[in-house]
Amino acid sequence: MTQPSIQQQNLAVELRGVNKWYGEFHVLKNINLQVGKGERIVICGPSGSGKSTMIRCINRLEEHQQGDIIVNGTRLTEDLKKIEQIRRDVGMVFQHFNLFPHLTVLENCVLAPMWVKKVPRREAEATAMQYLERVRIPEQAKKYPGQLSGGQQQRVAIARSLCMNPDVMLFDEPTSALDPEMIKEVLDVMIELAREGMTMLCVTHEMGFAKTVADRVIFMDAGQIVEENEPHEFFNNPQHERTQLFLSQILQH
């Protein structure tokens, strides 16, 4: 297994011996992962393998019980201040978008900057419009999420995260709730983001995306990282039986 050598001070996210249980169920088993600044990581694996759980631990939507998670040099502890700090630095995009339906697209985007970062509204709106343009839907700013298609909603969700100017972006199966024709719109935006050098951890089964932008692909099973490799190697020359099996299933369709 090749471990890209990254200098300690350049790490965006580091997981050291992370273990997590749901009740008695051991869901994350001794996870070690280092993500350098500007790295793009794709995480894949069968359903229930703990992919979501892992990335949700990174911005503390889930609590882990053992091990250390260090984001931008800050270690995640009980400390609310630190958690807030980390959540400000880490953006997250969900499978089901989770836009706020009672707010317009623009309001969705300026909410966190205004209330968390205390940016004046005018400034927050300017930033928001800038990001909405980047995801190519500035004309939808005044609409409500319910009036947009799934692909548009997911792009708004990405813009909303970007408005907080995060250092790291987490994506949890951002395209899996979308119809095929919408997947492309979202992937295009993500690829662009990747090209601009954003640090990204992305749970996805879109292998095309992985091949195009990922620096590393991580394969998880039963709560462990089974294999970790750069994409070309990963797809063409998987090391583990389990990976081979998984890839054979996934590449079928």
Binding site: G23, F25, K29, R75, E78, G223, H240, R242
Partner: protein, 409 residues
């Protein structure tokens, strides 16, 4: 790492660590630690609550003290000195306030029980009627429901009592019906008085019930064994009614009727249904039935049409479909809201005080409270009764829901 290794490792999840997180390198300030913050907040809350309780209690004690009001429950032993028109246990003016509590409580139970039975029957009838194919039946039921649940219960009680029942004739001009007398003082009907040999009839009734239970069991066993179906409800009904009737005839009809007679001012003898009771009962029944009907309708509608189709497709006749498929599923939906309707009815029976039916609130939280001035004790006891009732009900409901929950993945 070989694949086998991983597999082996995967098979053994480790146990949950006992002590949780490793010791943090720097102590988190407590106001930033959600756990400690929660503790602090709750401690503050408790302190505030404690202070509130303390100040209420001390104010109350001060107030009572300065007004020279005695506290404690010793008043329950004092003589009440007032009459109660309806009592299920012996009661005279010379009995204690404690006994007025029991009398009131029993009267509450009486009107609630009567109301629950009648409202259930009427409510089920209306609920089913509202789903009828017959337009008039459905609309009639809908009209009933919409009218009666949108008018305050108290108004309905007043209406039945002051506008309807008080318009009845005086005792001298009583309407006579079926050996009973209806007048503004209520309905007086003959009271059956058992004579020697009546025990036989009671015995036959018990026998009939036991025999029915056995019969139902036997019928089930036989069906399981041979497949033949025995109409056990009809047979059971026959046994329960027929046996006592037979015994009654055989024993030479050992029952006499104590007929009400106009003597002095009122009818004496027989049984008299107080108009206050009737008004309250009517109003509670009519009002609650409207709500029960909606509950029943909801329960029946909650059984998907596909269930009926599947039963039909299997060849189950309508009656059996109802008994085996619809009712068991509808009841799961109906029973929880139905119990809360029962509870509402019981609580609503406290409106008795408005028309002088001697229920718990009227007798105990009314007259007794006034005569003794022991507001705190009396109101607390009254509230405790209703509270206990509702706790028992929700306990029952939780148990029921747990038992009845449909198994799901």
């Amino acid at each position: 790492m070989s694949a086998d290794n991983i597999l082996a490792e995967r098979l053994q999840g480790q146990p949950v660590p006992r002590e949780g997180t490793a010791v943090p390198e720097r102590a988190v300030p407590f106001w930033n630690d959600p756990g400690k913050r929660a503790l602090l907040f709750q401690a503050l809350l408790l302190a505030m609550l404690g202070f509130l309780i303390y100040s209420v209690v001390s104010n109350t004690l001060d107030n009572l003290e300065s007004r020279g009001i005695t506290t404690g429950f010793s008043f329950l032993g004092d003589e009440a000195g007032f009459g109660i028109p309806l009592s299920l246990i012996d009661y005279t003016e010379a009995d204690s306030y404690g006994r007025t509590f029991v009398v009131g409580l029993l009267n509450t139970v009486l009107v609630s029980a009567l109301g629950i039975v009648a409202a259930t029957l009427l409510g089920f009838l209306l609920g089913v009627a509202r789903l009828s194919d017959n337009f008039l039946v459905a609309k009639l039921s809908a009209t009933y429901i919409e009218i009666f649940r949108n008018i305050p219960l108290l108004l309905q009680i007043f209406f039945w009592y002051f506008a309807v029942l008080q318009a009845l004739p005086s005792p001298r001009q009583s309407l006579e019906l079926f050996g009973g007398f209806l007048n503004v003082r209520g309905l007086s009907v003959p009271r059956p008085v058992p004579e020697a040999g009546f025990g036989l009839v009671v015995g036959a009734l018990v026998l009939g019930i036991v025999a029915t239970l056995l019969l139902v069991r036997w019928a089930r066993r036989r069906q399981e064994a041979t497949g033949r179906i025995f109409p056990s409800h009809w047979a059971g009904a026959g046994l329960i009614v027929g046996l006592p009737l037979l015994a009654f005839l055989v024993a030479g009809m050992p029952l006499s009727l104590d007929r009400p007679e106009l003597r002095g001012f009122n009818f004496s003898g027989g049984m008299t249904l107080l108009p206050e009771l009737v008004a309250l009962w009517l109003a509670l029944t009519i009002y609650t039935a409207a709500f029960i009907a909606e509950t029943v309708r909801g329960g029946i509608l909650a059984v998907p049409g596909g269930q009926l189709e599947a039963a039909s497709a299997l060849g189950l006749p309508k009656g059996r479909t109802l008994r085996l498929i619809v009712i068991p599923q509808a009841m799961r939906v109906i029973i929880p809201p139905l119990t809360s309707q029962y509870l509402n009815l019981t609580k609503n029976s406290s409106l008795a005080t408005a028309i002088g039916y001697p229920d718990l609130v009227s007798v105990f939280a009314g007259t007794t409270l006034n005569q003794t001035g022991q507001a705190i004790e009396v109101i607390s006891m009254t509230m405790a009764v209703y509270l206990t009732l509702s706790l028992l009900t929700s306990l029952f409901m939780n148990g029921y829901n747990k038992r009845m929950a449909l198994a799901e993945r």
